[in-house]
């Protein structure tokens, strides 16, 4: 059997997720409603059914035309670096969203930008100024000119 590739995995995720949502729809939503309305679950059920059918087609297609597996991508040195960098940026973004709830926006934003600069291996002084500059400009634009309350903690 051929090795599972990215499209197979995504197809499987779609298939399982649609199955779970269909189960939730059928157990929590009303089947019918008064006065001819087909009810809340009609559309979710139709959509889940269509997604499951298309997921099966995608899985079959993925075995016919295999794309590169993620493990294969990681074997390449440059690609591995990019992958680690992307994961770090994503973690930094998640950290920023958590910090934003607990500390002032200016501080959270500065930390987020500074960590990004570090991930991109920028020089320390540049990182400090760039992070402060971008955070400051965006704060002035949104919080002062457009009256968006950015401090939500």
């Amino acid at each position: 059997m051929k090795k599972a590739n990215g499209n197979t995995v995504i197809g499987l995720i779609f298939l399982i997720a649609a199955g779970i949502i269909m189960y939730i729809a059928n157990t929590t939503l009303k089947a019918t409603a008064p006065a001819g309305d087909p009810g809340s679950r009609l559309f979710p059920n139709l959509a889940c059914g269509a997604i499951m059918l298309l997921a099966v087609i995608i899985i079959i297609q993925s075995f016919k035309k295999p794309s590169k597996a993620f493990a294969g991508i990681l074997a390449d040195g440059d690609r591995r670096q990019s992958c680690i960098r992307t994961l770090l940026i994503l973690t930094d973004l998640a950290l920023f969203l958590v910090l934003w709830n607990f500390i002032p926006f200016l501080a959270a934003g500065f930390i987020f930008m500074f960590l990004q600069c570090m991930i991109f291996r920028e020089k320390l002084l540049f990182s400090v100024f760039y992070s402060a500059g971008v955070t400051g400009v965006l704060y002035v634009m949104f919080a002062i000119f457009l009256k968006v309350r950015l401090n939500i903690y």
Partner: protein, 500 residues
């Protein structure tokens, strides 16, 4: 005579300055992802009450036109639509930009947005009342078919694989069912989470998929060669903003198609530039001699979407001025401003305040004409910005996306939705799943479901009502054509190839 008086009152330094100020504010807000034209107009409205009504509306219409136009700037430069009306602009605009022709794409955006805006203003001046009456014939069956027609566009947008395009499109439709049931008011898929009662907001998903997803993808695909200095010829090409005569000839027909569709769709309450641009893109692709270029950096595709979203403004104003019906958030705020100035909105407005309405038409023309130099100058400035290293832009964009998603409703759930949509966007991009159908499904799913169920309720579960009016029949034919045409054209071209 009233047009002459209107011109005299609009062409004063004060009024022109108000339009210019409105254009500049609209441009800033429209370019920033997450900040919509409705927000821009709402922000400016309280300031305008201190001004004379003509000056106030000069500023408001300047903001409205400019915000819709400038949503295309971020769509082209960073693949993140500034406003929902620019979703279709990303299909071709960003691809042109990736080839190093950002200034050129921004130039097309400016020229064809202005063209669409002027076209719709002329339609507004000539046929305001009769067109608005036509829009009133739309009931729930017609809205259902219109939504279904929009959903048929999924087939056109799915370039690489039909199955992949359809699956993400239907996922969008499924996401549109989250929140309160549109007819019964019962909760669907949200448990006890009150932040999701209104459903999954469309803008955070759009920012996540197109903005965060694209930036993560660029970081992932980054190569050392990307940082190397570019050659002189490439930089010269980057400097070009205006299209050549030959390029204009190619874009003329799609520009006109986009403008006509923009006006028609704009007139129908509840629709807008987002839907009109998607329909225009699809129709232009069908009539084009180069349909294979659509979605891969086609100038025709870009021109038609830019013309269409700005043309929808004239359409929306038609219904608002002639009937007093706000078709979308923008016209609702504008009608609110009219009542604050002591005017009675509704069918009597065109007769009772004829002079003021004439001034509005002239202001619309002036606003569009002012967008031209401002847009072209900003395109030049954007080229300079692009000489900045990619990673600096990527870092800033991730932050702008986060703030943009939050700013819309001041709801942190929107930021979480953006984050999840960003991760999904990255994987969809990596494995060639088109993002357009997902947005289309999310945008039209609720409209489709609500109007189908409403029709069934009105007719007591009978489907006959869906086929009962001439407009419905016309829309059904369009749906069938939109679904079958890609397969028929494929079959014809294969047959031709086999014969040759």
């Amino acid at each position: 005579m009233s047009y002459l008086t209107a011109i005299q009152s609009v062409f004063t330094p004060g009024c022109l300055l108000c339009v210019l100020l409105g254009v500049l504010v609209g441009m800033v807000v429209g370019t920033l992802p997450g900040l919509t034209s409705v927000m821009a107009i709402s922000l400016i409205t309280p300031l305008t009450f201190k001004l004379d009504s003509t000056y106030g509306f000069a500023m408001l219409l300047g903001v409205y036109n400019s915000a819709i136009f400038s949503g295309g700037i971020s769509a082209i430069a960073i693949n993140t639509p500034g406003t929902p009306a620019s979703i279709a602009t990303t299909f071709d605009g960003y691809k042109i930009s990736r080839r190093g022709k950002t200034g050129f794409a921004l130039g097309i955006n400016t020229l064809y947005s202005v063209f669409g805006g002027l076209f719709s203003t002329i339609v507004l001046m000539i046929a305001c009342a009769p067109l608005a009456r036509l829009a009133l014939n739309f009931g729930s069956p017609e809205y259902f078919w219109l939504a279904l027609f929009g959903l048929c566009m999924m087939i056109s947008i799915s370039h690489a694989s039909l199955a992949k395009g359809l699956i993400v499109g239907i996922l969008g439709m499924l996401l549109s069912t989250v929140g309160l049931d549109p007819l019964l008011g019962s909760k669907r898929f949200i448990g006890n989470n009150t932040a999701l009662l209104d459903g999954i907001a469309f803008i955070p998903v759009m920012i996540g998929l197109f903005g965060v997803g694209e930036m993560l993808f660029q970081i992932f695909e980054h190569k050392k060669e990307d940082d190397a200095p570019r050659d002189i010829a490439e930089l010269k090409e980057r400097e070009r903003v205006l299209p050549t005569k030959a390029e204009h000839r190619r874009m003329a027909v799609p520009g006109i198609i986009g403008s006509i569709i923009g006006v028609i769709v704009g007139i129908i309450p509840g629709t807008g530039g987002d839907i009109s641009a998607l329909i225009s893109w699809d129709v232009s692709k069908r009539v084009s001699r180069h349909p294979e270029e659509f979605g891969d950096g086609s100038v025709e595709g870009l021109a038609t979407t830019c013309a269409s979203n700005n043309a929808s403004i004239g359409g929306a104003l038609t219904t608002a001025l002639a009937l007093g019906i706000p078709g979308d958030g923008n016209t609702a705020v504008l009608l609110g401003a009219l009542t604050m100035y002591g005017m009675v909105t509704g069918p009597t407005l065109l007769n009772n305040s004829a002079d003021f309405v004439c001034r509005l038409y002239i202001i619309m023309i002036v606003a569009n004409l002012l967008i031209l130099p401002v847009g072209l100058l900003s395109a030049k400035a954007c080229i300079k910005l692009l000489s900045i290293k990619n990673q600096y832009i990527q870092m800033a964009v991730l932050m702008i996306c986060s703030i943009g998603a939050y700013s819309m409703n001041r709801n942190f759930m929107d930021v979480i939705i953006m984050f999840i949509a960003g991760i999904a966007g990255f994987f969809f991009r990596k494995y060639d799943y088109p993002l357009g159908p997902l947005i289309l499904g999310l945008l039209l799913g609720k409209m489709c479901e609500t109007n189908l169920r409403r029709t069934l309720m009105l007719s007591g579960s009978s489907v006959k009502m869906l086929f009962s009016t001439p407009i419905s029949i016309l829309l059904i034919i369009l749906c069938l054509f939109a679904t079958l045409w890609p397969f028929i054209s494929d079959w014809i071209s294969k047959k031709k190839t086999a014969e040759s």
